[in-house]
Subunit: 248 residues, 2 copies
DNA sequence: GCTTGTGTGCGCGTTTATGCGCGTTAGATT
DNA sequence: AATCTAACGCGCATAAACGCGCACACAAGC
């Protein structure tokens, strides 16, 4: 049996039954549990099913419970990201006003943030806000239109709210990092929020793994020199020596 | 049975019956009370049910009485809620700008909202916003500080954002409904958001089951005449004949 | 023929879920 | 108000599920 056929079989079994266990699938398809687990991982990443402890469920059933459990461990085993986030989190000082950009890397950052006195976190992501509040942080959310794909807030309300604030420091993700093209994002509206939020922040940090160096996304939101980059992994030689690049 | 399925089963049992005890759930699902307790904890954190001493209740019922226990299980409100929400949802017109208040009743309302052309929904709850966005609605979130308990946004930013908007219609929950004391809420800051949002709305609807009539919570956010009440069940005689009370 | 890559199974250490026992706490009863 | 009972949370032990590295098999390409 072709691996591709097996994947399809798993999906249809899950769809039909609503949920199945790993041993059930292994038995039905004549392969070991290891293989089934790998398949489930693949299908989960492709958003065709939802992988849960013990097996898999159809996407409709999974909705709410996924949020906190799965999201947090989705790409857990990334040493680089862990180190980057730990380093970045250490930069937050007591009694400060901190901006947290939307994105998966900054979401990881939240888990590392210290519980300091008098720190208020501001974010443009409802998902990030929930995590911050869950950890007992004082949390402020920008207003605006909610983009379903990224759970980020954009538009004039978000920008207007930013105008009231001045942050001591802030953390952003970036889809592209290049010396000439600067920091770039895939979406105009989100880039605008990034741009304006940076403008109101004293100490600006972009946190990113090494893979983003040399990449260029459609919309630029800051010059390369506008922020300090905290990164890890195999940074291209060209960027290693730059004094606004911190490799951990 | 998958743990994930068990969680879903608990939620639907709670939704259907209004409230259930721990031993009941343990018996029905074939696990021990310990496991049920842990499940309830999980579900409570995910805001899918409300954990109370003795078992769990649906979210709507928990909001009324902060410290309710299991024994008063007047169950039947479930059907009522469905009808109330269906009736309320039918009031939304195409090309309109609609405000949705935070709270468990309005959360139920979201499931009934029609997919109409050109409708934008605005809410002060990040949870409601996520549900709206998930259903493909154009969604706007007020800014402001996030209250962890209720996932509602409060404070000057929320109020300032409201100032820019004028809604065609809006839906609010209320902890208390009384002819003299008007509509009341348990919290000052949340009441303020309710008050200001109502001020910017042309057609105002309070959706509530009959149990709230005669109840008074600490903070008033509107006069009794300021909104049309959509309700169901055994409405006290005094209120039945009032022309801003719609019983479905 | 050899290399390279991919898919699969297996073993191992780690994590997670569950049940049980205990002391503590919250509601109910009087 | 005092007492009683059931519910509760916590820690621990166990078993299942899990992720990962390694080895092997087979196929494709040089």
């Amino acid at each position: 049996m072709l691996a591709e056929d097996r994947l399809n079989a798993i999906v249809s079994m899950v769809q039909q039954a609503g949920s199945v266990t790993v041993p059930e699938l292994a038995e039905a398809l004549g392969v070991t549990a290891s293989t089934i687990r790998r398949d489930l991982q693949t299908l989960d990443r492709a958003h065709r099913i939802a992988k849960v402890h013990g097996g898999a469920t159809s996407l409709e059933r999974a909705h709410v419970t996924r949020d906190l459990t799965i999201n947090e461990r989705s790409d857990l085993h990334n040493d680089d990201k862990e180190r980057i986030c730990a380093r970045a989190a250490a930069l937050v000082e007591p009694e400060s006003f901190v901006y947290i950009d939307s994105g998966s890397t900054t979401l990881r950052l939240i888990e590392h943030l210290p519980r300091l006195e008098g720190v208020t976190y501001v974010t443009d992501s409802v998902l990030h806000a929930q995590h911050l509040a869950l950890r007992g942080m004082r949390t402020v959310v920008l207003g605006g239109e909610l983009k379903p794909e990224t759970e980020a807030l954009v538009g004039p309300d978000a920008l207007a709210t930013l105008d009231h604030y001045n942050f001591n420091c802030g953390f952003w993700g970036s889809n592209g990092i290049a010396a000439e093209q600067g920091f770039t994002a895939p979406d105009i509206e989100e880039a605008q929020v990034k741009r304006i939020s940076m403008r109101h922040t004293a100490k600006r940090f972009v946190i990113s793994d090494a893979s983003k160096f040399g990449m260029v996304a459609p919309v630029k939101f800051a010059d390369f020199r506008d922020a300090t980059i905290i990164t890890a992994g195999e940074v291209p030689a060209k960027y290693q020596s730059m004094d606004n690049v911190i490799t951990v």
